[in-house]
Amino acid sequence: MNAYRRGRTRRLTALIRKESFQIVRDPSSILIALVLPLILLFLFGYGVSLDTTHTRVGLVLEETTPVTLDLAASFQNSRYFDVTIGHDRREFAEDLVESRIGGFLVIPDGFTADLTASRHPAVQVIVDGADPNTANFVQNYAAGTVSTWEAQRAAERALTATPLLVQQRFWFNPELKSRNFLVPGSISIVMTLVGTLLTSMVIAREWERGTMEAMMATPVTAWELLAGKIVPYFLLGLGSMTLCVILAVFLFHVPFRGSILALYALSAAFLMPALGQGFLISAVTKNQFLASQLALLSGFLPSFLLSGFIFEINSMPTVIQYISLAVPARYLIPSLQSVFLAGDIWPMFLRSILILVGFGIVLFAVAIRKTAKRIA
């Protein structure tokens, strides 16, 4: 080992030490790396739920006969509804306007007579279109409940069998808990915050204060400088991720079916573009305020909205679907959800890792160029 190389190792170690001290001493680093992840995870674990079990609905019985009571009972027994029974639809109309219920069902007057006379009786389902997601579920599950009830009646009376039975199997998440996919997804948001927001602000501060130029004047090369900055934040990102995973598994009871190796490989690959983006933003703006705004707009919001985390990419307009191809989180989130819920699916993971590392290399290359140019 020659003298230059030895010097390089020493310089790098010194830089990493210096950065690590800065992280530990700076309250805003702690805030972003520890407090924000906890808050986000709690919010997504407890606050954000797309679960449609127990939607509050009203049920209007315009006539009370054994048949309608039987149908009402199957609504009450449904796991999807929390039913309040009334006898006049006006009672619920007001609740619907004021969003106290997601919808109401009407078993109309004459239902039993129509049923015995084979005159196509129908249950009316009135939903609150102002909340379309809940409205859809209420419609679907009301139709499902009615046809299950019918099938049971037919079976009891040994009438003609129901012609078609669709068995639904939800793989990986049979309880249909939205928390099970939201919590793993939010881990990628946390890594975006640490990698992009924190890194860009901290490095932008060095530019602002001129300490970056001071370091450039030392024998440290641009690559060493970059590595010295990246390694501590890389480890910090993995640390935040670990904290989140522990909470996800032990507090929120999200199943973890994959391997730790896959989890760390994916996270490490994702931190490359995240850190690269942070570094690039700081090199371009050299200003904390602009860096934070740009990091939120180009890092946080896209990983939140355009990554398939909550909103289905396939349902978006084509232009936005193309834009989403440039969002690194889009490649991480399905794999991360799979590590938790499905297990190791290496062909999918390797593809994600390759794409993420590719993004990372491009971003770092541009960031290095930007940094070098400034000094020349």
């Binding site: 805003s28 009830w149 012609p163 039975l165 068995q167």
Partner: protein, 370 residues
């Protein structure tokens, strides 16, 4: 208190806001981006669904079912396969969200009048979307069942459901999202502008100059509070216009009630902003503080997911969130023509929040000065 002095301060605040490129960015970039991205991208509708079909049935009914899926507007790609392993893999790797398996006796069972079975495998990793897809497939199956011989015999005794969507007949997600944006964007801008204004002066040192001017502390605070409220009204107005003219969302209720409620909403937000401002020593801290307030406020408001789905103890926390109340009013005025009494009932809590946050911020502010 001299109205001229106050007016001069308000003028100065506006000049500072519009002259500083950083604040201009805050006033323009996040609102425009939010409106465009949220309205078009943030949808829980499920369209362009890709499914895989494994049809072991040689008869008419199996292929009829598949062609009905293909004909359905929600589906984009219907891949056929003969290999269960491939189906397994397509679900595993998220190439399709659902897979339909039709057994070899499907047509035979239907013709014989016995119950025909079909399995639908759905990706639970995206349980919200897959439940909606399950709904689509069930609806197609119900249609097919009605056309089978047994179904036609049963037709006369079948019980149907008739759905009516009040307030939003086609269940368009934009009608849900855009009114919500009117409220949330006003929050974003109002909070950032207020929390940054004092932090900026502190950083630049001009705040001390303000303090030695003849202006009293409460006058300074009032001067700092008026511009964000006015800007909030401008944003709300612009977004209402965009909602009606660009997105075609009906405006059914009273605009007067909406603006009245908006005043209390903005005042309560500015109270929070001032609070952050009083605590923050630098702009950096002010931004982080605003972010720490905004993210929970957005998520715990009913903006994207219903409050009723949250655990009870968390629902309690939403009572101090002004967005929670204003969302009900905005959505109600746009889509539902909510009664005035309901608007008042939702406005009172916002007025109470403002009544607490503003004086508290003023107090904190004064105590930090000494």
């Amino acid at each position: 208190m001299g109205p001229t002095r106050l007016l001069a301060l308000v003028r100065k605040e506006f000049l500072a806001l519009f002259r500083d490129p950083k604040s201009r960015i805050i006033l323009i970039a996040p609102p425009v981006l939010q409106l465009l991205v949220f309205s078009y991208a943030a949808t829980l509708e499920v369209r362009n669904v890709d499914v895989m079909v494994l049809n072991r049935d040689a008869g008419h009914w199996g292929s009829e079912f598949i062609s009905r899926i293909e004909a359905s507007p929600q589906f984009r790609l219907v891949q056929r396969t003969g290999n269960p392993a491939e189906l397994h893999e397509a679900i595993d790797r998220e190439r399709v969200i659902a897979a339909v398996e039709i057994g070899p006796d499907f047509s035979r069972d239907i013709e014989a009048g016995s119950t025909a079975d079909m399995a639908v495998i759905l990706d639970g990793r995206r349980s919200n979307a897959s439940q909606i897809v399950a709904g689509y497939i069930s609806a197609i199956a119900t249609g097919l069942a009605a056309d089978t011989p047994a179904g036609q015999r049963l037709a006369s005794v079948r019980v149907g459901t008739v759905a009516r969507n009040w307030f939003n007949p086609n269940l368009e997600f934009k009608w849900f999202m855009v009114p919500g944006l009117v409220a949330s964007i006003a929050m974003l801008v109002g909070l950032l502008v207020t929390s940054l204004s004092i932090a900026r002066e502190r950083e630049l040192g001009t705040f001390d100059q303000l303090m030695v001017s003849p202006l009293r502390t409460h006058e300074i605070l009032i001067g700092k509070v008026i511009p964000p409220i006015l800007i909030g009204f401008v944003h709300i107005t612009l977004f209402i216009l965009a909602a009606v003219w660009i997105f075609g969302i009906p405006l059914r209720g009273s605009l007067f009630a909406l603006y009245g409620a908006a005043f209390f909403y903005l005042v309560s937000l500015v109270g929070f902003g001032l609070f952050i401002s009083a605590l923050a020593a630098t702009q950096q801290q002010a931004i982080l503080g605003a972010f720490l307030f905004l993210v929970p406020a957005m998520l715990l408001s009913g903006f994207a997911t219903p409050i009723a789905n949250m655990p009870e103890w968390l629902q309690v926390l939403t009572y101090v969130n002004p967005l929670r109340y204003f969302l009900v009013i905005v959505r109600g005025v746009f889509l539902k023509e909510i009664p005035l009494a309901e608007v008042v009932a939702e406005t009172v809590p916002m007025a109470l929040i403002a009544g607490v946050t503003l004086p508290a911020a003023g107090w904190l502010f004064r105590s930090r000065l000494e």
